[in-house]
């Protein structure tokens, strides 16, 4: 059997702040096959970006990975030295961010950044060869007039073009895993669809393992094979997209689905669920969702539910399903 491009096991991540320890991610596990896409879905602040950053080894300085493993093509990246990690970054895993304008250094052209990435990751020394590879990367993401984009500074391009350019940079080195952290949230609706189509297209063509982060179940429905629903840093439900969307198990997932407008599931946004995320520095005992749950039971307030496989490949962390 092939090794999976990405396996995340029992990942727990804390942020150290002056106000206390933020338990941003707790015991999250999932895996992505070649050519498969897994969506991390949850409200803002639920720890999705933290997971994404951990996968590419780009967590902020005050974050600590407390436990767990992240296997990229079978290698645990958390055990690697700084140097070995640098090799894997960009080469085997890469990332695109929510804000394409802020992810490019304003003082350098797209071409300078893109060709530096290719130069250092693929060890291309020849100037002409570098330029050719860079231009073909820009062409691959459907950017018209790659020559012009190559010579442009970030402020001269629109958000949609920059997000395409970011995809070009991230995929120029042919990584096997791509983390897309809410890549369409800041774009117009029409552009959103284009970028999603582009990502789908590239995923199939390149056999990418795609970790797609979104707070929008509609977007998740459109792009994912598997869905991982996260609440306050814990996984609440994980399974094939059709299963999760048609027969959701966890009360939180059900509420999320109710919030998606039926008519146009593709562009639906999360409406709100009464209450708000718990304080990640002082988590209540028991189930983290209990304070907002409409089906709450006595046990939920004291005992944390374990994640159990209810149907093959479909898992949920809820006392309703544990025997």
């Amino acid at each position: 059997m092939d090794v999976k491009p990405l396996v995340v096991e029992n990942l727990t991540i804390h942020y150290y702040t002056l106000e206390g320890i933020v338990k941003a991610v707790r015991n999250v596990s999932f895996s992505v096959e070649k050519g498969e896409s897994v969506c991390l879905v949850g409200e803002s602040g639920s720890g999705k970006s933290t997971i994404g950053l951990a996968i590419v080894g780009a967590l902020p300085g005050n974050a600590r990975i407390v436990s767990g493993r992240i296997l990229v093509n079978g290698v645990d990246v958390l055990r690697l030295s700084q140097k070995e990690l640098e090799k894997i970054r960009g080469r085997e895993v890469s990332i695109i961010f929510q804000d394409p304008a802020a992810s490019f250094n304003p003082l350098f052209t797209i071409g300078q950044i893109l060709s530096d990435v290719i130069k250092y990751k693929l060890n291309v020394k020849d100037k002409n060869e570098l330029r050719k590879l860079a231009l073909s990367a820009l062409r691959m993401v459907g950017l018209p007039d790659p020559e012009r984009i190559y010579n442009s500074y970030p402020h001269e391009l629109s958000g949609g073009m920059l997000q395409r350019a970011a995809i070009a940079v991230a995929l120029s080195t042919k990584p096997s895993v791509l983390v897309a952290d809410e890549p369409t949230t800041m774009l117009d609706v029409t552009l959103q669809a284009q970028i999603l189509d582009l990502l789908q297209d590239l995923r199939r063509k390149l056999g990418l393992a795609l970790v797609f982060i979104t707070h929008n179940l509609g977007v998740a429905a459109a792009i994912c094979d598997k869905i991982l629903v996260i609440y306050a840093g814990s996984m609440v439900e994980y399974g094939p997209v059709d299963e999760v969307l048609t027969s959701p198990l966890h009360p939180y997932t059900k509420r999320l689905l109710e919030c998606v407008p039926r008519s146009s599931a593709r562009v639906g946004r999360l409406k709100y669920i009464p209450g708000s995320l718990p304080d990640l520095r002082k988590l209540p005992p028991g189930c983290v969702f209990a304070p907002r749950c409409s089906e709450v039971m006595e046990v939920c307030k004291s005992v944390e539910p374990r994640i159990v496989e209810v149907k093959p490949g479909h898992m949920v962390a809820c006392h309703k399903y544990s025997r």
Partner: protein, 340 residues
């Protein structure tokens, strides 16, 4: 380079406004306020004839606006009066003193940037380690130790006691005569280099080290502090983290990318510190007998040499404006978003 005609015109207008402003202020101080302005102009212990001549030259018998007209006209004709002390035309004195000061300030800034920026960057990279603390102490001291004290102490220790470095003058006259050195631009380091006169070059370099080091302390401390602050900010920006996440080597991200983001604000702050550095240069030149505009101005002040003092004030104002223009241009070269 994106520099528009509007920018150049705007800057030239600003330059004119500054020069006019300074001229008006000096006019008010030397002509309107004193009861007998000719006393300021005719030198110490003037004879009645000299006073009469000065009254004529200054058109003191005419209405004030006519005086102002002549005052401005004389300035723009390059007729800045004659120094009491040197008995030379002030403009000529200033032009021959200026290169010495500029050379000193340039060398001081080169030292300041060459040490301050890398140390500031290292401090930002090693935040909150002992290295950071040491650099912080050094740079805070650098920015806050009084120039005159530092100058006297270093002169005493390095020059008088240890005799390692010369403690006065730009160059040994003897070497100049023996080698037949003839300055072209007045920048001795530059002139001796293009003439291939290494003896003078080495001698001048030896002389400039001590005053330049003293003068570099403030801009050094400032650039180290600024670099640390800006670099810390830049390192936490998404574009830095994305460059790392896309797999660029840390070295490259820091020294090619982040450093460039850091330079523009650092250079801007150094430009603004220029005024302070000029004041420093006055003291350093006085203490090290450095024949620049600072020494000239200091001597002029001590001997109430009004024409010379006014000339110096105007020149410093012009330099200040020009420096700010250079800072703008450098900023535009570094940052493509800046359109001048």
């Amino acid at each position: 380079m994106p520099i528009s005609r509007e920018y150049i015109i705007k800057r030239l207008i600003l330059l004119v406004v500054v020069v006019f402003g300074v001229l008006i202020i000096t006019f008010v101080i030397t002509r309107v306020i004193p009861a007998r302005p000719e006393l300021l102009w005719a030198g110490a212990h003037p004879t009645p004839e000299q006073l009469e001549k000065a009254r004529k030259e200054l058109h003191l018998d005419e209405p004030i606006y006519v005086q102002l007209y002549y005052y401005l006209a004389d300035f723009f004709r390059g007729n800045w009066g004659v120094s009491w002390r040197t008995r030379q035309p002030v403009l000529q004195d200033i032009l021959s003193a200026l290169p010495a000061t500029l050379e000193l300030v340039i060398v001081a800034f080169i030292i300041a940037i060459a040490l301050g920026v890398p140390l500031g960057a290292i401090a930002a990279l090693k935040r909150n380690t002992w290295i950071d603390h040491v650099i912080r102490i050094v740079s805070v001291l650098g920015a806050s130790v009084p120039v005159f004290w530092l100058a006297l102490i270093l002169q005493l220790v390095l020059s008088s006691w240890l005799g390692i470095l010369p403690g006065a003058k730009r160059v040994d006259e003897l070497v100049v005569y023996e080698t037949g050195f003839k300055p072209i631009t007045g920048f001795i380091l530059f002139d001796s280099l293009i003439e291939g006169n290494f003896e003078v070059f080495v001698n001048a370099l030896h002389h400039i080290i001590l005053p330049a080091i003293v003068l570099s302390f403030y801009p050094f401390g400032l650039s180290a502090r600024m670099t640390r602050a800006v670099m810390t900010e830049v390192l936490s920006e998404l574009y830095t983290r994305s460059a790392l996440a896309w797999g660029l080597p840390r070295r490259l991200v820091i020294y090619k990318y982040a450093l460039k983001n850091t330079l523009a604000p650092v250079i801007a702050s150094l430009g603004l510190s220029f005024g302070y550095t000029i004041i420093g240069a006055f003291m350093v030149e006085l203490i090290f007998v450095w024949p620049g505009i600072g020494l000239y101005a200091a001597m002029a002040l001590l001997s109430y040499d009004y024409p010379a003092i006014m000339g110096c004030v105007i020149v410093v104002a012009i330099i200040y404006t020009v420096i700010n223009m250079i800072v703008d241009v450098v900023h535009a070269i570094i940052d493509p978003r800046v359109k001048l």
